[in-house]
Symmetry: D2
Subunit: 337 residues, 4 copies
């Protein structure tokens, strides 16, 4: 059986999924890509050999050959398209975050449940070989009972200011991946304490956001964690995680384009790590889509469901409140936000 898919949104991430779905995802047939900006839809269709394209996302919901819709449009359109897809009986893959508003998210998840379709949220890092290996180290008992977690997540450069202005801020846009990683590795978090600052670019501060942050978290199982974010690591994309436990520790390093070491009169060195999330995580995008297609095709639960999409938004809100109020915030304080 081949799963029929359509993509809404032909921007950067929409093109990533178009690429993987047309070349690297077995059992998938990408029929169409839609974007309200028609030239983008056409360009993606041409570049990836997609049979059809459209400037009307709503048109996809009526196409009988589509089993699932991949939502890659801007965040503010996510819940609308989720609800429309659910009503049309289509399974849904939606990029992160589902929305910045918990009530909006809850309404969308309710529509999904009511329709009896499945929703997978695009936390691609769960499908990265490093992070999977860390989870395996935890789950097999290789490092004993987890006690401490530290996540380093640094981008090579900040996004444009106009993106930052609509992004929901560093916690909602960037650290949300790390909040998800916390849950993926070690389960639910109950308390958050955040410190943040604007150190990279004053324009980010002027836009009301931070570009540098550290967050401490207490997990339900007692583990104490921390997350570091910076919008700018001059040496490239820096993505490392360490879990320490009663019987050992597991630490992931960065990925590099080559494994060559150079020694000269100055230093022993290697080239910079992969510099961009699409280089670093390309395999994980293919793997998450393959997992989605496989789950739908075999009628199994998707590996990252709606609740997994909601929880990191809640954590981001707790982090933001901690920043504002300069105090430890319990996640159960937030739920009425």
């Amino acid at each position: 059986m081949t799963l029929g898919l359509g993509i809404i949104g032909a921007g950067r991430i929409g093109r990533v999924h178009a690429d993987t779905l047309t070349t690297r995802v077995p059992g998938a047939k990408l029929h169409i890509i839609a974007d309200i900006h028609a030239p983008s839809a056409k360009a993606a269709a041409d570049d990836y050999g997609i049979p059809a394209h459209s400037d009307d996302p709503a048109a996809l919901f009526d196409l009988p050959e589509l089993d699932a819709i991949v939502i890659c449009s801007s965040t503010d359109t996510h819940t609308r398209f989720i609800k429309m897809a659910a009503q049309a009986g289509k399974h849904i893959f939606c990029e992160k975050p589902i929305d910045h508003d918990l009530a909006e998210i809850d309404a969308a998840l309710a529509a999904v449940d009511a329709a009896g379709v499945q929703l997978q949220v695009g936390f691609n890092r769960r499908f990265d070989a490093n992070h999977i290996r860390l989870k395996q180290a935890i789950e097999t008992g290789e490092i004993g009972a987890p006690q401490l977690l530290h996540i380093i997540s640094r981008d090579p450069a900040p996004p444009p200011i106009d993106y930052i202005e609509v992004s929901g801020g560093m916690m909602m846009d960037m650290m949300i991946h790390d909040f998800d990683m916390c849950r993926f590795l070690l389960g639910e978090v109950v308390e958050v304490f955040a410190m943040g600052a604007c150190m990279v670019d004053p324009a980010i501060g002027a836009a009301g956001d931070i570009d540098t942050a550290k967050v401490m978290l207490r997990f339900e199982n007692g583990v104490i964690g921390s997350i570091e974010n910076s919008r700018q690591a001059v040496y490239g994309y820096d993505q490392r995680v360490e879990v320490f436990g009663s019987q050992g520790a597991a630490s992931s390093g960065n990925r590099h384009a080559n494994a060559v070491t150079l020694s000269d009169g100055q230093s022993v060195r290697r080239d910079l790590p992969l510099n961009f999330f699409m280089d670093r995580y390309m395999d994980s995008y293919a793997a998450e889509m393959a997992a989605f297609v496989q789950a739908i095709a075999t009628d199994q639960p998707v590996p990252v469901n709606g609740q997994d999409g909601r929880a990191p938004v809640l954590m981001a809100k707790a982090g933001l409140r901690s920043l504002r109020e300069n105090r430890l915030v319990r996640l159960d304080e937030i739920d009425g936000d």
Copy 2:
């Protein structure tokens, strides 16, 4: 412009090229795959979505939609298909080695020249990020004038004995990649001294071959090199090269599926390196085919030509003679073999 291609041979390496040509090589259109074993051709066509398949390789030479033929059949058929393709005016990509016999090779190269087509030989490692980085370190002067070279090349496990019996032996089948690497990095070799033994499996010795070898080489430019081969590294595919020069050294390490380090009460460790040439070098297969397609499409010289295919065979012959006669062998002793 799109280049039309057909593949002859639907075995392991034929399928690798079918995979890359259908998904990862821009500007290529794979029309057909042929194999005298019809089910193999059909299976490959199904698996990679190739429009046609055939059990008659010769049929490809008449197809007008084919600009180039990719020869992946057994080594003893290479020169025959090269000559047929050349006569049909098709460009040619041929797997290594072209042949075990220098006269046969010369005849095939003459046919290629006479037809005015191009021939690229499948030394895929030249397209690997590690090896390219080493070459760049040499060519940019980053490590000064090269003085010493050491190549380690170890397979995870020996091939079946019946393969070994027709392979031309370890030097012609396995070390030939390293001989090519020598030339890729540092140019022509003038002298070879070899030591070899059967240490892994007595059956390999009984088949008249060795499974462990070390070769010392002197380059035209004075560099002193060495190559180590083993048919069996229990920890996986071990592929490392070090070039030492007047201003530094460049060393490549192995590639791993993840970059996770585990510490426990026994050791600080990581998982084994990639265990198989198709994992280790998959990107290089895509890159070599992209380079071939690009060169033909733009009418530029292919990056690994017939002479590059012939020279490592000559080196292997010198190595074999050194083994037999237990002495230093000059390459110019061989050319009448």
Copy 3:
């Protein structure tokens, strides 16, 4: 000129200083070691070739050949011996922490000032090659303006419970080194938030202490830092620091007894890191004592003075209050404690 020294306290750390002073510190002459436990003093004198020993620490203050006293007795005796040494006009090297009580510390520092002698506090890690290199990376601008700091400090195994009971607790006894490292690398800290737990041994919790902790700190210069401590890393002494800045990052790794990598059918591994602070930091003990002797001999300020001894005690107190009250604590809240 040779500086005459006497040691008070012939326990573990007293013996370390006896060892370095008799073999590795130029310009020093160790005349005597005293311990109220006479056999310990004698054993140390025998083992390190010290001319004299005594069971009466007070006897040292009258010896004219002594220019300086090295105080290695239990923490509760530190300020008493500091004051006696100061009154006798002797320079002082005192192990960390000076005391658990800020008023006691202030009185001792006042006595030192009044006597016009110098006091160096035993924060040996400031003399470790890794930490010095990190500081150099910061001070030379190699990594630009510092933005984030993360310190990992884990012991191989917890000390005996009866030691824990008098130690002042994990923050005062163990993390105090990391608080000092914060100041050494990046200057003064203004705010502290701590999470801690007893995860290693319930007996530690029963003694009123924690064995696992993470602390977040804000520095006067805006840097956001964190410290992780565990009383038990099964793989050995784990001491790593990372400073991230606007132009790069500097990270220290652990030290190992050998630099051998082993590959087998299971993993690529190396032996565990140095397992004990005396292995890991032995060179730093020699270097700190050499720096002390050199400073006194040349009448220069000692590199780790009384104020450097006091500040980490203050930080530990802030950390303890944060733990108790589950909130961010400003250091200026503490000073009346």
Copy 4:
């Protein structure tokens, strides 16, 4: 019991032994150092607190307080002093090489045997933590049956030409350590093939020596080995060994003064490895002397005996003949040289 020692030769290596014997070798008492250049003897005595010094090496043989003589004078004096010490009934530690002439060596070893004293030869690298770990990996079966060996040994810079002229050449002076390492790790060698060249400094060639070499060796147990030497690695002292076996591989890396990694906009790098043999191998000098003192004091065989001193000289001679005659040389061809 304390072993009484005297040193002949107060040059660089004599001072190394004076340093370790006075500070780091338990059970040793260094009574005197002699050098025909009186100021050198006096300087060493002053610097290391040695009670006596002399400009007459012969005077040491009559001193009843000396149990052993440490010979650190120039190579051409070694066998003379060995014979005198033996006749005086003193045990002997002699620096490498014993001599460049096998007959001279044999005469000295005969004198040692006749006198019933012990002779240890200064192959200090056998006492280095890396090399010991490699040997352990071999002996415990951790890597199975050894099959291949590769030794990289590169100096940071060539010695002065006048030293090279009396040194016996690169093979006798520098590679002799690696020949010893071959035997230490894997036993006797039966065949040698060498390539060498002058690539670093033409003045070395003018002095009749080479500065760059690679040697292939076949061991009695079938292992195939190679050694690389260069007189100049611009990045510092490069000392690495890899042993490959049926169950795995063990590889040693270089030692560094710190374990700090720096990342910036250009590279991920660390500082150069230790740059000088006295930094890299200082611990091994202390350990070899401790082992000597311990063996003599307990009447056990010394760990590196006269035969261990002779064999690498024989290997160097075979290497030199291979270089001259451009062919594989069996060690049993040499023994009449």
